[in-house]
């Protein structure tokens, strides 16, 4: 196989393997921000999800078997994320509390809890999620491993259009958008902004927790304290890049997932200089997106009207 083709397949494989956490966190943040709140704490939620998924999968394997244990882990990741979400949802809606500041506190709380509780799980091996081997038709091991796709990734891909439809065509979606754009109007309609925001933050944190499960139970499939490498924070930035549109979140996640594979893939075909530069590609991309989308003249199209506003009494 030519080096160029190998490189392309390598990056494609990296995209399919590595974008699931971005996807889940960015979709979660999309729901949260649509309701008018920012949850920076998803970085902590991601770590907490990764830890609880791995821990539960490891601990439950003897009782429920190697097949169901990781799925229990995924559920645990979602629930632990949701619990963190409740804290953020309640705190960030108090009078004169800034949700960005609360989010930073939640990063520290989430990661600290995950590191503390995760100590015993660094060493053992937990059962991993099953994968769909769609590459059986090919006899190239590269293609086979590229097309070994996680069901979580497929679920994430399905959630994106579902959310899009939810926001556009359902009553619930309308509630979320109403609360996000104009809480007063929503209140006048008889909707409680507090409850809607609380539920949106919880749903978002649930998804972010599952994103963590992708890290620890699929790829790279271990629990270590360095597992997230800032992916939760990047995913928050990615939502702005995607203009609060779930479908675009999907494309943006794929892009970010792919950039992670660039450094190793280039070195493996012999382009061995500048790997530090390739490795920072996702961060540079984040900065560029921020600069491009940050215009002093206008607000961003698609941005929820009440995003970042002070809480009403």
């Amino acid at each position: 196989m030519s080096p160029f083709l190998t490189l392309l397949i390598g990056i494609l494989a990296g995209t399919l393997r590595g974008s699931a956490p971005f996807l889940f966190v960015s979709l979660g943040e999309c729901i949260t921000e649509k309701s008018g709140k920012i949850n920076l704490g998803l970085e902590g939620t991601l770590l907490m999800g990764a830890m609880s998924a791995y821990g539960v999968s490891y601990l439950s394997a003897p009782t429920v078997g190697e097949f169901w244990a990781p799925w229990l882990g995924v559920a645990a990741a979602g629930i632990s994320g949701m619990l963190l979400g409740v804290i953020h949802g309640w705190l960030s809606q108090q009078r004169r509390v800034n949700d960005v500041a609360t989010g930073i506190a939640m990063i520290i709380l989430g990661s600290g809890l995950a590191f503390f509780l995760g100590k015993p799980f660094i060493q053992p091996q937990a059962p991993q999620l099953l994968t769909f081997d769609l590459g059986g038709w090919s006899d190239s091991s590269q293609v086979q491993s590229t097309l070994r796709i996680s069901p979580l990734f497929l679920i994430g891909v399905a959630i994106a259009p579902f959310l899009h439809w939810l926001f556009r065509s359902t009553r619930w979606g309308l509630y979320i958008r109403a609360v996000g754009d104009s809480p007063q109007a929503a209140l006048a309609m008889g909707i409680s902004p507090f409850k809607v925001r609380m539920l949106s933050i919880m749903a978002g944190s649930f998804l972010a927790g599952i994103g963590g499960a992708c890290l620890s139970l699929y790829y790279p499939g271990v629990w270590t304290e360095r597992i997230s490498s800032g992916q939760g924070l990047m995913a928050v930035a990615l939502v702005i890049f995607a203009r609060w549109n779930p479908i675009q979140c999907l494309w943006a996640s794929l892009l970010f997932g792919g950039t992670q594979a660039i450094g190793p893939a280039f070195q493996s075909i012999g382009i061995d200089s500048y790997y530090y530069l390739f490795n920072v590609a996702p961060y540079v991309l984040t900065l560029l997106i921020m600069i491009i989308t940050c215009s002093p003249k206008k607000t961003l199209a698609g941005s929820p009207g009440a995003l970042g506003m002070e809480n009403e009494d």
Partner: protein, 393 residues
């Protein structure tokens, strides 16, 4: 409603940007100090009876890797009567380590400090050594230079590349394609030396063997390590070795792809039961126990009772090989054992002429050789012929 319009979108975006940068900076360095000092409070002031030794690790103590190897050694030192150890894990190679060292010295009363990670040395450990001339500092690595660095600084390190050479011999036998892979963190001398020795070992069996190196750019980058292993598997590489803090990800990914693996730091056979060939393991227990006894006897670096540079290889029990895995053939095992024997006896010198670097520079002429103790090897900035990769970043 109108009062809140002032919070414009771009302020939000700026806020996000700033916090992302802040968060990334603090998070990525992963600081969560968790001192496991048992009974600190008991004898901070009056503890002149026992020697208090501080160990600082860059990652978790049970990472199947570098830190675990040191932590096991530290436990062995703790067993020496008269020694009490205090430990702190997950200390980043930033000014955070200054604070850790300072509090170990000033609060816990430590008189010997072992900052075990490479990047702690300059400037952090040197700064502390200048400030506390009565405290001894021991660094694992080859950065110490006599005459330049303070008298209370010592350096210890094992010639683990001897074990890498033997692993290379086994890998050279087992590889069908003759293509070996090496997932490395950062191009520093110790890493390059492992890569070179591994390659030399493999080429002593199969002169056409090559080693592809991928640098991840950091000691703990789980996703990049997995990506690197996968992309090497895609290239047709069939033996993977690594030098990162925790080889767990590399071992598991390689096992999943059906590759042979060579471990590092500690025994990783449980992670890759079918493909594990052998591995280069640290054996800090003997050296730490010996040093602990010397501390109790009141010996110090400053008085010249303890050597400033402590080095050793397979013969001196600074390192060892993992037991051979089930896949290793009898022939490979025999050659591996022969190479090990020759290294222990001193009959075999790994770096001998004629040796060229992979960019065509001559390293050693036909009649020259670098003994293991040669300081040139600790300044290594070249990759030998047969290694695919470059030391430049």
């Amino acid at each position: 409603m109108s009062r809140s319009i002032r919070f414009s979108r771009r302020q939000v975006v700026r806020g996000l940007l700033a916090t992302t940068a802040f968060g990334a900076a603090t998070k990525l360095s992963g600081c969560s100090p968790s001192s496991e000092a048992g009974d600190d409070t008991s004898s901070a002031a009056g503890g002149s009876e026992e020697v208090i030794v501080g160990f600082i690790y860059v990652g978790p103590k049970d990472d199947f890797g570098y830190n675990q190897a040191h932590a096991e050694g530290a436990q062995a030192m703790a067993a020496v009567p008269g020694i009490r150890i205090i430990e702190e894990e997950n200390v980043p190679e930033t000014s955070a380590v200054l604070e850790t060292m300072r509090s170990m010295i000033e609060i816990d009363g430590a008189t010997v400090i072992f900052p075990t990670s490479f990047g702690y040395f300059d400037p952090y450990m040197l700064e502390m050594a200048a400030e506390f001339p009565e405290v001894q500092f021991f660094h694992a690595g080859g950065l110490y230079q006599e005459d330049i660095h303070p008298n209370n600084v010592g350096s210890y390190f094992g010639y683990i590349d001897e074990a890498q050479y033997v692993s290379g011999v086994v890998a050279g036998h087992m590889s069908e394609t003759g293509q070996l892979g090496f997932v490395a963190a950062i191009p520093i001398p110790q890493v390059l030396r492992n890569i070179n020795s591994f390659t030399l070992g493999a080429r002593s069996i199969n002169p056409a063997a090559t080693t592809q190196v991928i640098f991840t750019g950091g000691w703990a980058e789980p996703i990049k390590e997995a990506e690197a292993t996968n992309s090497m598997a895609d290239q047709g590489i069939d033996v993977i070795n690594c030098h990162v803090d925790s080889p767990k990800v590399v071992m598991e990914t390689a096992e999943e792809r059906g590759l042979y693996t060579v471990g590092y730091h500690a025994n990783q056979a449980p992670l890759a039961p079918t493909g594990y060939l052998t591995g280069a393991e640290w054996d800090w227990e003997s050296i730490y126990t010996a040093l602990g006894q010397q501390f109790v006897e009141g010996k110090t670096l400053m008085a010249g009772d303890i050597d400033h540079v402590l080095r050793g290889g397979l013969a001196e029990n600074f390192c060892k090989l993992s037991p051979y895995g089930p896949a290793v053939t009898a022939e490979a095992q025999a050659d591996g054992e022969a190479a090990k024997e020759a290294l222990v006896n001193g009959d075999l010198v790994i770096y001998k002429g004629e040796l060229d670097s992979n960019d065509g520079e001559a390293i050693l002429a036909a009649d020259e050789e670098y003994e293991q103790q040669n300081i040139e090897l600790e300044k290594m900035d070249w990759l030998i012929e047969g290694v695919k990769g470059s030391v430049g970043s």
